[in-house]
Structure formats: C-alpha cells, structure tokens
Subunit: 132 residues, 2 copies
DNA sequence: TTATAATTAGTAATCGTTATTAATACTAAT
DNA sequence: ATTAGTATTAATAACGATTACTAATTATAA
C-alpha cells in the first residue's frame, strides 16, 4: 500500500477500507457508514466521506457514478467493467477482458492524452428477469 | 418526434430542445437555463429540469454524468462515446465506431439483458496540453 | 368556445456531500 | 517519558444541484 508521508492509518480509515475490500457489492457511502458503525459505533459520516476521498486519492479504491444522485464505491482499484440493473439498481462486476489498447488508439486518433476509460452496460439483471 | 398522447409542445419545451440541439458542448442544466432565459426571460429553473427529464423520457436527449455533482445533457440521443478532460472538465464527442455487438456479447456471456452501454475516456485534452 | 388537464413560475424543501471547528491522538524529536 | 507539531476525528452547519409543491396559466381536443 502506497503510503504518502504524513498520512496515518487510523482505525476509522482501516475499518472503512476493510468494509470495502470485503464486499463486491459497490456500496454507497451511507451503507459503508452503517457497516463501520457496527465496529466503531460513534464514527461520523463526515469521516466516511473524507476517508473515501483520501483512499480514492491513494488509489486504494474507486468511486463509481451511475446516473444516480449518489456515488458508489468499489474496493477493487484495478479497472474492470460493470453491469447496472435499471430495475433493482444492483451493480455487478463483469468478468470480461479489458480493452487495453483502446486508450492509446483514441489518443492517437484525437490528440488528447487518454489516461483511462470506463465502460458500463445497462439492462435487466438475471434475478430481475425472474420476477415479471 | 414520438409524441406521447397528452403531452404538449410548449414554447418553453421547444426552446429547451432548440438550445440543446444547437450545441455540441454538453451543457449543464444551469447553462441551458441561462440560454433559454435569453428567449423566455422569466422561465423557471424548475421548468428546465422538468422538461429535461421529460425530453429524456421521450428519447430526444441524453443525460450524462461524469463524476461531477451535476449532470450534463446531450442533444444527440444516438449512442456515441465521450472524452472528458480532467483539467478543464470539457466533454468532447468522439468520432469512433460504436461497438454494436458488444451488448449482445455481454448478454450471452452473463445472462443479463443488456439494453445499452456507455464508454468514456478520461485524460488531458489537446487544448490543455498547450498551457503547461 | 369551452372544458379539461398539462404545464408553468415561483418558491420551499430535500438530500448527498463538503466545510468548519474545537477536541483528540499519532508521530518524531528532545 | 515529555513535549511540540500536525493529522485526524466527531459533531454539526452549510452548500448546491435537483425535486416537490401550489395556485395561476395555457395548449389541445371536442
């Protein structure tokens, strides 16, 4: 873990990271807040947001936004693609290969420097197809 | 234009649509508000939001969200990809071919019904590379 | 025209997120 | 150990984009 000098790994920050690393459910800040409260009952919501921001800066986690009014967070910082169910709003990791040359392709074609890309699919998940 | 029975094309709605169709700059609701005010000075911001929502529902426009706290809107409802400059926050249309079979591919591989996908690239745009 | 319901302007409320502040707790140097 | 310095915290207030509400207006079809 790349530790910037001066940063401390507090029990709050560790708990937030642990919660995020232990799920693949792309939780919201509020869900993380509730989970961390089970470990540190008087943790503050502001602490959740501040640390999520710091952990993102550190490259430990990713922030996702899928057209909702709120963000979701992903404990896996390595690029991967997502499927979003427009019915139940579940976000599912996709196990498909990354287009690893596409950034360079776009860069050459356009002249913009491309650092990363994101790809998302929208539709109805397997579960939601059952209950129709 | 697919017109749902009961919906009216008011001058406000028409103005909002005109403003959006006449730019490729992916404006915010607030920018659209300022532009429409030049035509209808006492138009309300709530009217902007309500109509953007309705026009999106009608398939006339698209709503974009790029990790900001606000949405951007696109007068071109046909799927296309975007480049977002992380320095100046400009959003640029990309003239690259759509992966038109990828939705089916993911659908078959996962069992989820895939209706659409979005692909975005992030980096430093041509303009911002100059002023370093 | 007229009746009906969609739409509007204006404004208040909502809600996710961010900023503020005084208190706390690491960390390193004495 | 004791201190000084500073990152971090809990609690709470503030913020800003968006949405909801309401009475008045206006497009549309009969």
């Amino acid at each position: 873990m790349a530790k910037k000098p001066g940063t401390r790994m507090t029990k709050q920050r560790q708990a937030i990271l642990d919660v995020l690393k232990s799920t693949t459910s792309h939780p919201t800040a509020d869900w993380i807040y509730e989970e961390v409260r089970k470990i540190i009952p008087n943790v503050s919501l502001g602490t959740i947001y501040r640390n999520l921001s710091i952990l993102k800066e550190m490259g430990e986690i990713m922030e996702l936004d899928f057209g909702s009014t709120y963000s979701r967070f992903d404990g896996n910082p390595v690029n991967h693609y997502h499927f979003c169910c427009t019915k139940c709003n579940q976000v599912i990791d996709l196990d498909i290969d990354i287009f690893d040359t596409i950034d360079q392709d776009v860069s050459q074609a356009t002249g913009h420097i491309v650092n990363r890309h994101r790809l998302e699919f929208y539709g109805i998940c397997k579960d939601c197809q059952k209950d129709d």
